[in-house]
């Protein structure tokens, strides 16, 4: 097979994978701290993607600028979701939490279906058709920008967790719930903050992703599963793990789409998920708890 073609496919897969990684990072942060699996994660992602298309259609707002209002709105939404709905469920069994978030997911997917119908939506900006050339390789501009946004967002989030007092407090909650309470941290508020931050990751990833793929309501559940795969493969709670997991899945899906049937690409991802769960449940980069 043509090495240039493979090179281009791998490059595109890596760049898309970084956006996947940012989405998954949101899930990882939420699970790592709050210990709740956000089964509405992909649905939140599609809401962000639709928000970007709406802002684009209404105000010609470039999706990279739509990131700002979307991030604010998602932070508020995530904070409210955790503070209002999920906090009372913290002591309940996992299946109860699962059902709660499944209900949220069902409402989201179908509200999108109600509002926008089943047809695919997208945004069209001129740089989507352009590409950077590097020797024989072509990098789509939209993909490069989207991946850059993902890397910047990850770096900012990482800085927030390491450098600010709030970030430190959140990490303390994740490390030792009881200890955090003992030293007087407002754990419930920190959980809500964390969920808000996870939602911001999703908002940014969604705005970036809408430049790369068309959005339909059923994309939500698919993205939820994709985020699980990436997070488990990369290692729950590991920020670089989420990005690398995203790249790994992005590249492998792109290659599987090229070598095998395009529809077989997720099969590879699920196979990888099963292997990682069995052989290295802490993920490729995770620490054993």
């Amino acid at each position: 097979m043509d090495p240039v073609l493979i090179g281009n496919v791998v490059a595109a897969g890596m760049l898309t994978g970084l956006v996947y990684g940012l989405m998954a990072l949101g899930l990882s942060v939420i699970f790592g701290v709050v210990r709740v699996v956000n089964f509405a994660h992909g649905e939140m992602m599609t809401v962000a993607m639709y928000a970007a298309t709406v802002l684009f259609a209404a105000f010609k707002l470039d999706p990279f600028l739509a990131v700002l209002p979307a991030a604010v709105a998602f932070f508020v939404f995530g904070y409210g979701l955790q503070a209002g709905l999920i906090n009372p469920f913290m002591t309940r069994p996992e299946h109860s939490q699962f059902m709660l978030l499944v209900a949220v997911a069902i409402i989201m997917v179908n509200a999108l279906l109600m509002l926008f119908g089943p047809d695919a939506r997208n945004v069209q900006v001129d740089y989507q058709l352009e590409a950077f050339e590097l020797g024989p390789l072509l990098f789509d501009k939209a993909r490069v920008y989207a991946a850059t946004a993902a890397v910047i967002a990850t770096a900012l989030l990482s800085a927030l967790f390491r450098l600010t007092l709030t970030g430190k407090a959140i990490r303390a909650c994740a490390d030792n719930y009881l200890g955090a309470k003992v030293v007087g941290l407002d754990v419930k508020r920190l959980y809500a903050l964390t969920f808000g931050l996870g939602a911001v990751c999703v908002a940014i990833a969604g705005c970036a992703m809408v430049l790369l793929v068309d959005v339909t309501p059923p994309l939500g559940p698919a993205y939820t599963l994709l985020a699980f795969i990436i997070v488990i493969v990369g290692g729950l709670g590991s920020m670089t793990g989420a990005l690398l997991g995203g790249i790994l899945i992005g590249v492998s899906e792109a290659l599987a789409g090229l070598v095998l049937a395009p529809s077989a690409k997720s099969m590879f991802s699920f196979g990888l998920l099963i292997l990682v769960l069995l052989l290295r449940p802490q993920g490729l980069l995770g620490k054993r708890s």
Partner: protein, 322 residues
């Protein structure tokens, strides 16, 4: 002596008489309720009794359905032989997944995600299995539908209703017996505290695997039923994660770990779903998604305000056992 037995007798009489009283639409809804009552009961064995959360039960529905469906489709072998193949495959799958997961110490959320992964993996596999129809589906020949032909499991809707009634009743009896058996007590010990159970000398691996295998086998039977009830199978539908969620909804809404919770939950949810459809149709508001939004909202309310499900509170008020 409590009031459980007489109430059960009344329920049995009502359910036996039902098809002769109601129309064909109500009969299909009743069949659906019994189907969810049965699959919910099956899932409950694993989660409600043994505490192992499966979010991938569509795997066993699909494998059971395709096992019996394939034998019939390719070799004209009837569903009764297919049932054994379905049972065997589902038990093997359940044992394999259980062994792998428990052997490697996977539990809780990770176990739940593993069950999703296996179901999705299998769905995608069937999508590429052309011999089984692939994504285009497998269509079983429909011979005749007016007389009872139990040997080939062909007949009028009433036959499917009674079959499902028998299965649901059988599952209820089995679960009632299981809960009072040695296995039931071991499972509950494992559910409440696995470490302690192991310390007491319970071979937790073996009993957890038994729960998975039993739950898988019961669910596989529902797949065989589904194949011959609908006569068409699509991987995209039968293995889909929404199928797994449907199975779980009943017991969670009704009451996880209880005997009548899955039955009550199945009835409430199915009637709710049909009721919303009717109400929206009456209001002339039928754009796609509306029904599911209402359904999701009600689900949210029930999960929030009835953490243990509907049945435990109701049972106390009616003065009956669980």
């Amino acid at each position: 002596m409590n009031r459980t037995a007489p109430l059960l007798a009344v329920l049995a009489v009502v359910l036996l008489a039902l098809p002769h009283v109601v129309g064909s639409y109500a009969l299909s809804v009743a069949t659906l309720i019994l189907y969810f009552a049965y699959t919910g009961q099956a899932w409950n064995v694993m989660m409600g009794f043994a505490g192992q959360l499966s979010l991938g039960h569509s795997l066993y529905v699909g494998v059971g359905a395709y096992a019996a469906g394939t034998l019939f489709y390719h070799y004209e072998i009837g569903p009764w032989a297919g049932l054994w193949l379905a049972l065997a495959l589902c038990v093997l799958l359940g044992l394999a997944i259980g062994f792998l997961a428990f052997r490697f110490g996977i539990s809780g959320v990770y176990f739940a995600l593993l069950t999703i992964a296996f179901a999705e993996f299998t769905r995608l596999g069937f999508d590429h299995a052309d011999w089984l129809g692939g994504p285009g589906g497998m269509f079983l020949r429909v011979a005749q539908r007016d007389t009872w032909d139990l040997a080939n499991f062909r007949g009028p809707p009433i036959m499917y209703y009674y079959t499902m009634l028998a299965l649901a009743a059988g599952a209820l009896a089995l679960c009632a017996w299981l809960l009072r058996s040695r296995a039931g007590y071991y499972w509950q010990a494992i559910r409440e505290n696995e470490e302690a159970a192991r310390a007491l000398g319970i071979n937790t691996l073996r009993w957890k695997m038994l729960a998975v295998a039993l739950s898988a086998a019961m669910t596989g039977v529902s797949g065989v039923f589904l194949a011959f009830y609908y006569n068409n199978l699509f991987p995209e539908q039968i293995f889909h994660i929404s199928r797994s969620i449907e199975i779980i909804l009943g017991p969670v809404i009704g009451g996880v770990g209880t005997l009548f919770g899955p039955i009550l939950g199945a009835a409430v949810l199915t009637l709710l779903s049909e009721g919303i459809t009717e109400a929206l149709a009456a209001l002339g508001w039928e754009s796609p998604g509306v029904k599911q939004v209402f359904y999701g909202l009600v689900l949210l309310m029930v999960v929030m305000f009835l953490p243990n499900g509907i049945w435990p509170g109701l049972a106390r008020r009616m003065g009956v056992g669980r």
